[in-house]
Symmetry: D2
Subunit: 323 residues, 4 copies
C-alpha cells in the first residue's frame, strides 16, 4: 500500500462536455482528503489551483498531517483555466508562455512547503486542433525552452512530463514516450523525467511495459499514473477493469528495474462513486503486483531471450489460472 497514491480529484466530481454541471454532487477539499484516507492509501497527488494554491496551502498542510498522507506530486494547472485555452508553454501569446513557467515554478514553491518532491507537468493544451494551425518548429523550440527553464530555476525539484497523444487538443505536442525522451535529452537538465499514464500509453498504441522500459533504461521514469481504457481514447476507467496481462507485464518490468517511485490512480469515475472506483484500482494493482511477484525472473528472462510467445502465454495462464 505504501507505493500507491491517489490524485485528489479522483474521489471528487466529474463533468464532461455534455454534462457540464457534473455527474453526481461536488465534494469539498476536506471531504476528498477524508475519502482518500478512508481507502487506506498513504499518499496523495494534487492538481494546482484545483487542490493546492496559496489560499489552500495551510489547509493542505493541516489535512495531510491529520490524515497521515504524504504529498507525492503536484500537477500544475496548465489546462483548466481559460488563459491556457490556446496553449501554455507553446501559446502564441508570449505573456502566456512566461506565465506557464511562472505557474510551474510557483507550484514548485508550494511543493517545497508541503515536502513534495515532484512536479508532474501535463501539457494538455500544448498542441493543435487543425492542420496548418500551429508553427511546429516554433512550438518544438518553445516547449523545450519553457520546460528547461523550470528545471533550471528549481534544481532541487524533480520535474516529470506526462505525455498524451490527444485531448483536450486534437493533437498534443508531447504525444508519446519517445517525444518526451527527446525533449529530456535536448533539455540538458538532469532533474527532468517522464510520467507514464497507462491510459495515455495505450491510446498511443504503445505497449505500456515497453514505454516504461524505454524510460527506466535511461533512468527517466519518475512517476506513474494508473487507469484503464478500451485502447482508442483516454477513458480513465478503473485500473484493471479491462486489461489484465498488459498490467502484469508492466508490474513485472517495474519489479525487474526496481522502480521505487509512487503509483497514482488517475481516473474519471463519471458515474461511479470516486472513492469506490479508486479503491478498486488499488486492489487490482495489488493483485497485479502479486502476480508479477509470482513470475520467476529466470524463467521469464529465458522466454524473452527466445521471443517465445507460446511459452509466454502458457506461463501467463499458469500465473492467472494455475494451468
Amino acid at each position: 500500500m505504501n507505493k500507491f497514491s491517489v490524485i485528489l480529484g479522483n474521489v471528487g466530481q466529474c463533468s464532461d462536455r455534455y454534462m457540464t454541471g457534473g455527474y453526481g454532487r461536488p465534494f469539498e477539499l476536506e471531504e476528498m482528503f477524508e475519502r482518500v484516507a478512508s481507502i487506506g492509501v498513504k499518499a496523495v497527488e494534487y492538481v494546482g489551483n484545483w487542490h493546492i494554491s496559496d489560499k489552500t496551502l495551510n489547509q493542505v498542510l493541516r489535512l495531510t498531517k491529520q490524515y497521515g498522507l504524504r504529498s507525492v506530486a503536484i500537477i500544475p494547472d496548465h489546462f483548466g483555466s481559460d488563459v491556457w485555452g490556446k496553449g501554455a508553454f507553446t501559446s502564441p501569446d508570449a505573456k502566456v508562455k512566461q506565465l506557464a513557467v511562472r505557474e510551474t515554478l510557483h507550484m514548485a514553491e508550494l511543493a517545497r512547503a508541503i515536502d513534495c518532491p515532484l512536479i508532474s507537468i501535463w501539457n494538455g493544451q500544448d498542441g493543435y486542433d487543425y492542420p496548418l494551425q500551429a508553427n511546429y518548429a516554433d512550438a518544438d523550440k518553445w516547449l523545450t525552452e519553457g520546460i528547461t527553464k523550470c528545471c533550471e530555476d528549481a534544481p532541487d525539484m524533480k520535474f516529470s512530463l506526462e505525455y498524451k497523444p490527444k485531448e483536450p487538443r486534437n493533437h498534443s505536442f508531447l504525444s508519446n514516450v519517445w517525444r518526451s525522451l527527446t525533449l529530456i535529452s535536448e533539455s540538458g537538465v538532469q532533474n527532468l523525467g517522464v510520467t507514464i499514464d497507462v491510459g495515455h500509453s495505450f491510446e498511443a498504441y504503445e505497449d505500456v511495459a515497453e514505454a516504461a522500459v524505454a524510460a527506466m533504461k535511461r533512468g527517466k521514469l519518475f512517476h506513474l499514473h494508473m487507469n484503464d481504457n478500451w485502447k482508442f481514447w483516454d477513458d480513465d476507467m478503473i485500473a484493471g477493469s479491462i486489461h489484465t496481462i498488459e498490467y502484469i507485464e508492466l508490474f513485472w518490468w517495474l519489479k525487474h528495474f526496481g522502480y521505487t517511485g509512487y503509483i497514482s490512480t488517475d481516473q474519471y469515475p463519471y458515474r461511479e462513486d470516486g472513492k469506490c472506483a479508486v479503491e478498486q484500482s488499488i486492489k487490482w494493482m495489488q493483485a497485479f503486483e502479486r502476480a508479477a511477484a509470482n513470475i520467476d525472473d529466470k524463467r521469464m528472462l529465458a522466454i524473452l531471450a527466445k521471443n517465445d510467445a507460446v511459452e509466454s502465454t502458457a506461463y501467463m495462464r499458469e500465473i492467472l489460472f494455475g494451468c
Copy 2:
C-alpha cells in the same frame, strides 16, 4: 443556403472535462439567434432545455420570426442532466426510462408549437462504460420499446436516430448506421429514420457516403449533421477542415438520391469564435456541393460500375485541380 441550418449551441460557448468553466465567454439565447442569422443561414436546430423549453418557447417564437429562421429539428436533452447519467431509454431505473419517453414527447409538443417537423434523438447516455456492466439483452429491448412508443404517440412527427459509437459512454448502444436501421425495422413504425452525423460516421470507420446510401436506399435518411474530425474521435471540427474527397462523395450521393432534408452544422468550436467556425463549415459545404454538381453522373456511374479506382481518383483530381 436554403438547406443549411445550425445547431444553436454551435455559436455559443464550449467546455470540456478539464476546462469545466468553458472556453471564452457564454452567450445568451437571443445573442445566439442573432449570430446564426448574421451568417445568412435561414434555419436553426435546438437542444431541448438548453435552447427550447416551456420557459423559452415564446422567446424562441419571437426570435425565429424576428430573424426569419425556420426551426429544423429539436434534439431532446437525453444526455446533459444528471438524471440521465446512467442512461435514458435504457436506464436501469424504470422511472427514468419512462421519463425519457415523456421528455421526448414533450419536445414533440414544443416542436409542433414552433412548426418544427423533426425530433432528432441522440442517445448519448444509452450505453455502458465497462464490460459486464449492462444487460445487453434488456437494453436492446428497452431502447426499441422506448423509441417506438415515442413514434406511436406522436404519429404526426418525424423522429430520427443519431448514432455514435462512443462518448459520453465508452460504448453506445446505437453505435452505427446498421444498428439504427435494425431498430427502425424492428420498431414497425413509419415515422422513424436516421440522422447521420458525419463525424460519428467517420469515428465508426464508416465511409459516410456508404452509410448515407444505406439509409437513403431504405427511405430512412431523415437528417444530417456536419463536422469534421481526425477519424479516431468526435472532434467536432469545422466541416471540411480536414477531409475533402469524402465530403464530395457524400454530396454527390445526396444529389444522386435527391436528398431534400436539412443539413445542420454540429460543431464544438472550443477555441474559435463559434460564428466564424460555423460560417466556414457552410462555405466548405457550398464548395463541396458545387464540386458534386460538377460531377457528370453518367461518367461517375460508369466508373462505379467498373469499380475503377484509378479513373475515379483521376476524375476527383480533375474536379479539384482541373487536371
Copy 3:
C-alpha cells in the same frame, strides 16, 4: 473439449504481403489433420479449395474417419483466388457474381458429403478500397440477393455470415454484427445466421459479448471464431493472449443463452508452430469457460440490473484472483 474445433489452416503455414514465401515450412493436408488430432480436439473446419474440393473429398473423408474428427463448417473460398480480386457476390462482373453463388452451393454439396452442417461465408473481397469506387446501392442489393439465393437453393444447409470491418479490402460491405443482422432480416430466409469472429468484433469496436447477445437474442448466432488482437487490426493471435475479462464476459453470455454451436480457433500463427499456438487458444478458452462457470448467475444479473461497474469489476477480480 467437445465444442472446440480448429480451422485446418491454423496448423499450417502463414505468409503475409512481405513474406510472400511464407514463415516456416508448408504442411500437407494429412499432416494438418494429424496435428489437429494430436491436440485432442475432436472437430475441424475447412477453407474451400485450400482444404476441401472435389479432388480432396475422399482424402478428407478418410482422414476425418482415421482421426475421429467431426466436420464443423466449410468456409467457401471467396477471397483467395484471383477471380475474386474485385469482389465475389458484389463483383462488378456479373459472371463472377454468379460464380460466387455456384461456388457456395458446390461447397454445400461437399458439406453434405462429409456430414458437415454449416457453410460459414466470409465475404473478404466484397468491399472497396477507395472512396467513389463502389456503387453502394447496387452492392447492397447484390450481396443480399446472392446470399439469399444460396440459402434458398440449399435449404437443408445452415449458412452463416462472418463480418469484418476491413481487410483484405479497406472497407468490407459486411462490416459488423448489425449489418449482418440487417441482411439476414432482409433475406427472409431462416437458415441464415452470423459467425462472430472475436478479433473482427474487437476491430469493429464492438464489445464482443454485446455482439453475441445481439445475435443470440434473435436466434442467429450460428458459429464462433476465436483469436485475439490489440484492438486495431485482425492480428489473429492466440485467443486469450491479450484479453481476459472480455473473454470471460463472452463465455458467461454464451452460457447464459445456452449456445450449443461449435467454437473454432481462427488464427494466423505466422512465427509460432501452429499446433502449439492452437493448443494454447484451446487451453485459454477452457480456462475462460471455467471462470464463466464460476460466475453466479443470480449475482451477476443483479449487478447488471444496477449497471454497477464497481461491483462488477470487484467480482471479476474475485473470479480471477480470489480477492
Copy 4:
C-alpha cells in the same frame, strides 16, 4: 518531375495473406523498369534481393542507363526472407543480428556500384507480436548498435530509418518519428536520418507535416515515401486518393524548409495496374506541390503565429476552390 521516384515493386504484382498467389500477373525486372520510365519518372528505388543483388547488378546498371533513371535508394531486405521472421537487428539469434548488419553493408556496396546515395532501412520484422515476448531493454540496445555499426562501416553512405507503428509485427520497435530521432541522437553518427512514409505517419496518429518538421528542424529528413490510407492501417493507396489538406500542408512545409531529397511512391496497388496507380500518385503530388507554391508564405506564417484555425481553413478553401 525531377524529384519524384518510384519503388520498383510498385509497378509489379502484389499479394496478401489470403491471395497468396498474387492479384494479377507477375512482372519481370526489365518490364518494371520500362513501366516506371513510361510514366515519365526519372528516378527509381529498389528493395534488396527483390530488385537488386549481386546477380541482378549488371542488369540494373544496364536498365537504369537504357531508361535514363537515377537510383535513389536501396531498401535492404530485412523483412521478406524467412531468416528475418523473428527480427533482423533485434533477432534473438546473434547470428541473424550480425547478418542484418552484413546484409545492409552489402547493399551499401551495391549502392556505390549504381551511384545510389542512400540506404533506407525499414525494420519491418524488428518488433514483437505478444506482450511478454520481447526483452525491450535488449532490443533497444541491439537496434541502436546494429544501425550504428552500419553507419560507421559505410561512412560515405547515407542511411535512413523508415519507422512504422506495426505490421508485419503487431508492434514495431521503430514506431514513430520521435523514436527514430532518439535512436539517431543516441547513435552519435552523422550519416543517419529519417525516411518518412506518409501512410506510416498517418497510422501513428502523427500529423505528417509535424513529423517532417521535427526531422527537418534537426537536419534529419533524408527521404520520403508517399501513399495514402484511411488512417487506421498502412493501406498503401494512391497518394492523394483520400487526403488533400494534409498533403498540401506537408508540401508547404517541405518548401518552407527547402527539402531537396527525393520523394518516392510506396504503394501496394493490389487490384489496380501498378503503373496507372503510380502515375496517379505522381499527378496528385504535382497538384499538391502547385497548391503549396500558391500559398503565400508571409500570410501563412502570420496565420500560424496566431494559431488561427478559422483563417487557415478559409485560406485552404481559397487555394482549393478559389473562394
